[in-house]
């Protein structure tokens, strides 16, 4: 009899423990990411898909390599103004670009999903053979007119999508395993990526 009583009281302890465990898991897996990252949207609507499909532009028209091997990254106002120095249509966002940014000489503060820390030297020229999106580096913005929101870490300030060092290292090691002569057996030498 007494043993049964002991069993029921043990079950009474177990249930709150289970509830607490589930609550802690829910907080850790669902709550913390929501608390940790703030959601930001681009300052201006930009329609990648329309520019490519309707107007026949190529990625390289705006995101190009300079002759010294450096990468232009995001286009500046002058580049956009090659077409949009005055509103070509009646889209409010285009008018906003011309009036609020171009005519005032203010560069558009585009959000970058992938900014690396200051001690990283990343060379786009070295990674030309890989596709920007399918290799896992950039979100696929080209095939849609929507720009995904940027999740910014409230503590570090980095984007959630910024590539972590382990991902860089893994790909370097895999490529070096296929073509050892490219890295001379040291695909993850510190100063290949760090500065």
């Amino acid at each position: 009899m007494e043993e049964k009583k002991g069993g029921s009281s043990a079950g009474g302890v177990f249930l709150p423990f289970l509830l607490g465990f589930v609550a802690a898991l829910a907080f850790g897996w669902w709550g913390v990411p929501h608390l940790l990252y703030s959601k930001k949207t681009q300052p201006l609507l930009f329609t990648h898909q329309n520019h490519i499909e309707l107007y026949g532009m190529q990625c390289e028209d705006c995101h190009f390599f300079r002759r010294d091997g450096s990468f232009s990254g995001l286009p500046d106002n002058a580049k956009c103004a090659e077409c949009h120095s005055f509103p070509l249509g009646d889209h409010p966002e285009e008018i906003r670009f011309v009036e609020e940014f171009y005519e005032k000489g203010v560069e558009v503060p585009w959000l970058v999903y992938q900014y690396q820390p200051d001690n990283v030297f990343f060379s786009h020229a070295a990674h030309q053979e890989f596709d920007c999106t399918t290799a896992g580096c950039h979100p696929d913005v080209g095939s849609s007119n929507e720009m995904p929101p940027l999740f910014q870490n409230r503590i570090t300030g980095y984007s959630r999508d910024t590539m972590k060092m382990k991902t860089c290292e893994r790909c370097h090691a895999e490529v070096a395993a296929k073509e050892p002569e490219r890295f001379f057996g040291a695909p993850n030498a510190c100063q290949i990526c760090h500065k």
Partner: protein
């Protein structure tokens, strides 16, 4: 064979002609501007000031009619068997990239200064102060060189960012980034030297000038008998200068013709 040592097909190296060096210090200035060294708090205090490239004065210590001086610029020697690498407890410094430049990742350094103690050439410097640039001067910083906070060690990297630029340019032009030509990659001090005293290139490539110069009987390396195998050669036709490259006893002879 020690574990941390690797063999390299390309060995970036310098040959510094001490007979051409006038001691003007342009290399020091070029280095400080290129590599984001902040103006020192007190430049006269040699213990706390930082100069990745430092020009030493050598003297033959003879009285007036025979007196002679030479100037010896000293960047990091990028030793083939670096003393600084095995002592680092956090692998902030390593010699593992093709080209043989001894790397230094300042963000990883914990400031224990073992490497500074281990380097026989005093090529490493410790940040005693946080770097402060006068207002407006931060715009002159080189973008692809890290600035270093107080408490870490730093050293010459043969302008490694220029190496990366040269490789990128080669890639865009469709050339092999692992087979750079002699003039593709030049550190700031070499570019700035008004008397062309410093020659830079691949010591292992017979087509590069440094390869031939390093084989000259007038070429010597600093403290060569420590067996650190530096990737930096000095060159002088003056016997007394070559004699100062190491601690020779009186009866010992130095190389040369």
């Amino acid at each position: 064979m020690v574990l941390y040592l690797k063999e390299f097909k390309v060995k970036w190296g310098m040959v510094i002609d001490l007979d051409r060096c006038t001691g003007c210090g342009a290399c020091m200035v070029a280095c400080q501007a290129e590599n984001n060294l902040a103006p020192p708090v007190d430049a006269s205090n040699k213990r706390y000031s930082m100069t990745w490239m430092l020009v030493y004065q050598l003297s033959n210590k003879q009285p007036y009619p025979n007196h002679d001086v030479a100037y010896m610029p000293r960047p990091c020697l990028q030793c083939g068997k670096p003393n600084c690498v095995p002592v680092c407890p956090v692998i902030a410094t390593d010699k593992n990239q093709e080209g043989g430049i001894v790397s230094m990742v300042n963000a990883r350094c914990i400031g224990c200064r073992y490497c500074q103690a281990a380097c026989p050439y005093h090529a490493r410097y410790f940040n005693w102060h946080d770097p402060v640039w006068p207002e407006g001067m931060e715009k002159t910083l080189t973008q692809d060189v890290s600035t270093r906070p107080r408490g870490v060690v730093e050293k010459c990297l043969y302008c490694h960012h220029r190496f990366m630029y040269a490789r990128d340019k080669a890639r865009i032009e469709g050339r092999d980034p692992n087979a750079l030509a002699e003039d593709d990659y030049i550190p700031a001090c070499v570019e700035m030297c008004p008397t062309n005293a410093i020659t830079f290139g691949d010591l292992a490539n017979p087509e590069h000038k440094v390869h031939k110069l390093s084989k000259s009987p007038y070429a010597f390396r600093l403290l060569e008998r420590l067996n650190t195998d530096p990737q930096l050669y000095y060159y002088s036709q003056r016997e007394w200068v070559r004699r100062q490259g190491d601690n020779f006893l009186e009866h010992e002879t130095v190389g040369g013709v």
